[in-house]
Symmetry: C2
Subunit: 404 residues, 2 copies
């Protein structure tokens, strides 16, 4: 048969890293690789009660086809929990916030459209945009987020800038208040729309992050949120909030993509969220993740001493960003680390342009504090091994040079 692939599909390649990480699913490997919330935080009994209640009270409607916009009371709950005035009519319930990225790409990106992203940025966003064949352009970034001058320089004719201001995936960094103010002013002046992705914002450790960019200019932003990190990812529920002019297009794209997100799941979440459940539940997640982040920082201080490794101190979320000493390469390190029982994700796939091969992402939420300690010690071993290799190779090179 003449199966002819679309040009975009010809370009899709199986991820080398995904293949390596498949190995990490074998027992005995401690994975700091995945972005999997700790299953200890899933409110299983609350879900069990909600399921029973929804099926008992409203089973036929919960199992029927439903509006593409989403379940009314859930849209209202989302609007009410956001820190700026949101009309529920602007809330679209999505099949995870990943789907929001797919819908935005369909509505806003033509082939070769320029879309601006952070350096580095969320890999899943690059994957979601890619079927629409845009050109993803990296905006220079530091520990506080994108650099405003570079953003201004690249703003012209870009369709939007994609930003993840809170506890970013992959770096764990947070955009400061002053940077937000500057980015908001610069994008408004340039007329550049923002797509603001905020799956981790509620997972702060000591203090809540600054106000979202969308709150500062709601007509210039599409905001994405998720229930995956505050309730559970396995329900696949997220949402977006869009300006009224853009909303109908996103809704039509949603209808064509999967008709609507599961009505049953929407009612379950709506039921669970009643009576301030998130207000009681989310602090327990914050406390757990903070303990695990502290365990990771302590282990890194202890185990990496003298190795020339640098890393940041995330104020929330799920990830920490680490940079290996000069001459090492995270992709080459991964099999060594897996050999020693620990997995991570190398940093390069998270860059739209050329990546820094010394970087890697560590998750502190899936493994326990004790496992994190063991894993970081193993990782330090792997780094030492790679450094020794490199030193040996250097000696070899010098011998060869002096013999020549």
């Amino acid at each position: 048969m003449n199966w002819k692939l679309a040009a975009r599909a010809e370009k899709m390649n199986p991820s080398v890293i995904r293949e390596i990480l498949k190995v990490t699913e074998r027992p005995g490997i401690i994975s700091l690789a995945g972005g999997l919330p700790s299953p200890k935080t899933f409110p299983i009994s609350a879900f069990a009660e909600a399921c029973a209640e929804v099926l008992h009270k409203d089973g036929q409607a919960a199992l029927q086809y439903a509006a593409s916009e989403g379940y009314g009371p859930l849209r209202e709950a989302v609007a009410a929990m956001l820190p700026w005035p949101v009309d529920p009519a602007q809330v679209l319930i999505t099949t995870g916030s990943q789907q929001g990225l797919d819908l935005i790409a369909k509505v806003l990106l033509d082939p070769a459209s320029r879309v601006l992203v952070e350096t580095p940025t969320y890999l899943g966003a690059l994957q979601a945009f890619s079927p629409m064949e845009p050109e993803a352009v990296s905006v220079a970034s530091d520990d506080e987020g994108v650099l405003v001058d570079d953003l201004k320089a690249k703003a012209k004719d870009a369709r939007f800038v994609y930003l993840l201001p809170n506890f970013q995936n992959p770096t764990g960094r947070t955009m400061t208040e002053s940077r937000r103010a500057a980015v908001s002013a610069a994008t408004a002046e340039a007329g550049l729309p923002i797509v603001e992705d905020n799956p981790y914002g509620d997972l702060w450790f000591d203090e809540a992050p600054p106000l979202p960019l969308t709150a500062r200019n709601p007509d210039g932003c599409i905001y994405l949120g998720s229930f995956s990190k505050v309730l559970a990812p396995g329900l696949r529920l997220g949402f977006l909030v869009a300006p009224k002019g853009i909303f109908p297009k996103l809704l039509q794209a949603k209808q064509a993509a999967d008709l609507h997100s599961p009505s049953f799941n929407q009612r379950m979440v709506s039921e669970v969220m009643k009576e301030g459940f998130l207000g009681r539940h989310v602090p327990t997640i914050r406390a757990l993740y903070k303990r695990q982040r502290d365990a990771m920082l302590a282990a890194l201080e202890r185990e990496m001493q003298g190795l020339g490794v640098s890393f940041n101190k995330p104020a929330g979320g799920m990830f920490l960003w680490l940079r290996l000493p000069e001459g090492l390469d995270a992709v080459a390190l991964l099999p060594e680390a897996v050999e020693r029982g620990v997995a991570f994700v190398p940093g390069t796939p998270f860059y739209a342009g050329a990546g820094d091969p010394r970087t890697l992402r560590l998750s502190f939420v899936t493994a326990s504090a004790e496992e994190i300690g063991t894993a970081i010690a193993a990782l330090a071993d792997a780094v030492r091994e790679q450094l020794a290799h490199r030193a040996a190779a250097e000696v070899q090179r010098q011998l060869a040079a002096s013999a020549a």
Copy 2:
């Protein structure tokens, strides 16, 4: 802000019919419009048991992120229930079979690619393909499906033909065994891939439909199935079966689209399907829908007598196709019908090319047999009214002509 829409989004227009049908949600209207399965058929207590069991036995995994391919035991159950040898590795679980259409479009359609469809075809497929901006080409069709000669004539350079052989949406027609054999031979000869959509195949009334096209040439077909019509649509679960060469591309598109379908729902359905549940449950749906189809046929025979209306007799599924007498128009009839308390969907949106304005789709599954009787009587009234209007207009025209 400079929100610039993608070209595909500029072309998206709110459906006029969708707007009219919003009116039909008001109480007192009997809707023969929607494709909503009868909620009486939803196995609510089986779902309640399955939810409790899944959360009790396997709650953490059911609520966690999961593989994009889908839940292993569900993929195996799907492979086992299909009437040809299927490797579970070829089964991709989707967020409703609608999502399967979106993924196929991403993987197989470039802008201006030709995709062949029936006359008429499923509107949701046209909507799912449309973001990839293909050219949808109607293949001439009769009561048995696409005409083989026209299919052959249009096969060259087409990416695939999209076929819905069982109790088609919108017409309710079924492709006969001889037509299947001829279509299968013609597409194999032309090297033309088939996308076979089969959401309704289990809903037969007197005898099972002939073997799927995919069973005749698995390497030349992608097959789409759904749990929406045999269990419940509100879980949003479907599946596709693809040749091994195409599967990895569809999987990557799936990952980018929503990471994976809800793990919780997949386990629920897997749990419900244990011990031959569908074998006991589906016959009850068939019996109900057959009674309601019979009620619709009887009402049409009774109420439409002498009006010049023609209609088919579907052997299964959810829909019946009706053609109004010459000079009438289904879009113009709709407000008249809604006025009298009945809604339907006009036929024209289901055509990729110019549609037959006299056609309309009636669903016999949502309303009860009694409501169907009332609704068809109201519809006949609306037809009579339109015919009277038309006759009056004709008299007027003749008077004006003779006066001139």
